[in-house]
């Protein structure tokens, strides 16, 4: 007797385009019409917040944007929330890019921080300087770490950095902290040449798939804190009481994960109901 399979076969062999459709609906729906589900705050985000909280006014942070624009989309909540903390604390930022697409990022990011920039009178040249795309390869990172002013003399617009707060920076060890937002570009080089060589504390905002890699660095003490992807950024937004794109996306995050779990459960029910039984029938010859 032929194996019809029935509902179990349908569950085991569903077209993957259903996954795409359901995922599309469950992510788009809450973005258009937010539900407002609660979120938990992870210990990792609390640690990240605590690390940033140790900064004092006037501390100089090396703010490295090791992300392309596509990666920025994932890291955006963490980037904005972290910079809000920096602006509020009056920390000086030296901003560098690890990818040429970084040229477009300052406009995007500071446009969204405009209220905070105005409120705290945070200005380019005085409080933050953008030195541009300076990490094309590992040699550049090593050279910059060793002798900052030999490698960087002007900012990204060509204006001299002499007479600014960067006069205090001779090498990477003179930074009070490195704040890195990464999709995996120059981060390892920075850990090798700045953290290991000079002992600069480094905090990381990483895309989700790279979090397991960076956990090893966190555990080894190379990183002081780690913020994981969009969710970590949303949690940080909550901690600084400044809701933004991260918290807005959490409903979609939750529903997307749950829909994937449901599809896995459906597939396994179908597997047990059809695939395993048909295998047993084939093996034993019992119909």
């Amino acid at each position: 007797m032929a194996d019809e399979g029935g509902i179990y076969k349908k569950m085991a062999t569903y077209d993957k385009r259903w996954v795409y459709v359901v995922l599309f609906i469950t992510t788009l729906g809450p973005l258009i019409s937010p539900i407002g589900m609660p979120i938990g705050i992870s210990a990792m985000t609390k640690n990240y917040y605590a690390e940033l909280d140790t900064l004092q006014e006037g501390d100089i942070v090396f703010d490295t944007w090791n992300m392309e624009f596509s990666g920025y989309m994932e890291l955006k909540p963490g980037v904005l929330a972290t910079h809000k903390m920096f602006i509020e604390k009056g920390v000086k930022l030296c901003i560098a890019f690890g990818h040429y697409e970084g040229v477009a990022l300052p406009g995007e990011i500071f446009k969204q921080l405009q209220t905070w920039l105005d409120r705290y009178d945070y200005t380019e040249g005085e409080d933050y300087i953008i030195i541009g795309y300076v990490f094309p390869n590992e040699a550049a990172v090593a050279a910059l770490a060793q002798d900052f002013h030999a490698n960087v003399r002007v900012d990204w617009k060509g204006e001299s950095i002499e007479g600014t707060f960067l006069d205090e920076i001779q090498n990477a060890g003179d930074f009070d902290m490195i704040s890195d937002y990464t999709t995996g570009l120059a981060t390892t080089w920075m850990i090798n040449h700045m953290v290991l060589q000079y002992g600069v504390p480094m905090v990381e905002n990483s895309i989700g798939v790279s979090v397991p890699n960076h956990l090893a660095n966190l555990d080894a003490g190379l990183l002081q804190a780690l913020l994981a992807s969009t969710r970590g950024g949303a949690e940080l937004e909550f901690l600084i009481s400044s809701p933004g794109p991260g918290l807005k996306a959490m409903d979609a995050f939750t529903l997307g994960h749950y829909s994937l779990i449901i599809f896995i459960i459906i597939g396994n029910i179908g597997h047990y109901g059809w695939a395993r039984r048909s295998g047993a029938r084939d093996r034993t010859g019992i119909k």
Partner: protein, 264 residues
């Protein structure tokens, strides 16, 4: 911070053990490279899958798509090129069309030339130099996310019987593997990027995890230098395991001697 056991005047603190390990690594590598007898490397199971996949493509009259990564001349690309050479040899012998999408990174302008020579030589060695077609090795782009849709377009148009992704592939590998699965192609990948290895394992029919790829490359090329590298890496892994176990035992007895030794 753990203190070093001792320091040498004029020597950077905390780097002596690292230097000694490096010197040992140099010595072992040079020693094994110079030996007449090649070290033993087991055959990686994915190589059988490659032969089966190419055979399937030949029977179905479909092409084989094989790429060697988007990195420069790094550890993974060298292994990927060895595997590409092997695939090219089988395709040449079985008269199966081989498509090699190249590009994806700024250094692929250089690696592409090496790949073209490799594939051309494989066809010549098989006695079929006339069937080598450089247009089947298109340079798609020097950018990762422009290379990806080009690669996917090739898969959708050509509908290969086998898709073999070796070398260093990063986030684009997931796109490509899933699309290869979607066109019913046997997908054999090599994971070098820890972040997407788990996802690649889900999307591929066969996967070479981490160092299986360089081992496969060394096994196929029979190059003494590559095989010596694999042997030295294995020795260092045993050293690492031994150090970890010793440290675990010693720490549980309340001593930090291993920590201090490694910090010397």
């Amino acid at each position: 911070m753990t203190n070093a056991l001792f320091t040498l005047p004029g020597f950077a603190e905390g780097r002596l053990i690292g230097l000694l390990l490096l010197i040992l690594l140099f010595a072992l590598t040079i020693n094994f490279m110079g030996q007449a007898k090649l070290p033993y490397i087991r055959r990686v199971p994915a190589l059988d899958a490659i032969e089966d996949a190419v055979g399937r493509s030949t029977e179905m009259g479909k092409p084989v798509v094989c790429s060697f990564g988007i990195g420069g001349f790094d550890y993974w690309t060298v292994a990927g090129l060895s595997i590409l050479g092997y695939v090219a040899k089988i395709c040449a012998e079985t008269d199966t069309r081989l498509i090699v999408p190249t590009g994806g990174g700024s250094e692929t302008y250089i690696t592409r030339e090496a790949a073209v020579d490799l594939v051309r030589n494989a066809y010549t060695a098989a006695g079929r130099p006339e069937t080598f077609n450089e247009e089947d090795m298109p340079f798609l782009s020097g950018e990762q996310y422009a290379y990806t849709p080009g690669y996917v377009g090739i898969l959708v148009r050509e509908r290969p019987g086998a898709t073999i992704m070796t070398g260093s592939h990063y986030s684009e590998a997931m796109n490509i593997a899933e699309m290869a699965n979607g066109v019913d192609s046997i997908t054999i990948t090599a994971g070098c990027y820890t972040s997407n290895m788990a996802a690649l394992a889900c999307a591929s029919d066969y996967i070479m995890l981490g160092e299986e790829q360089p081992a496969a490359g060394a096994y196929l090329s029979r190059d003494p230098a590559q095989m010596a590298s694999i042997r030295v890496q294995d020795i260092y892994k045993f050293i690492a395991i031994g150090t970890i176990l010793l440290g675990l035992v010693v720490v549980n007895f309340g001593s930090d001697i291993i920590n201090r030794l490694l910090s010397t």
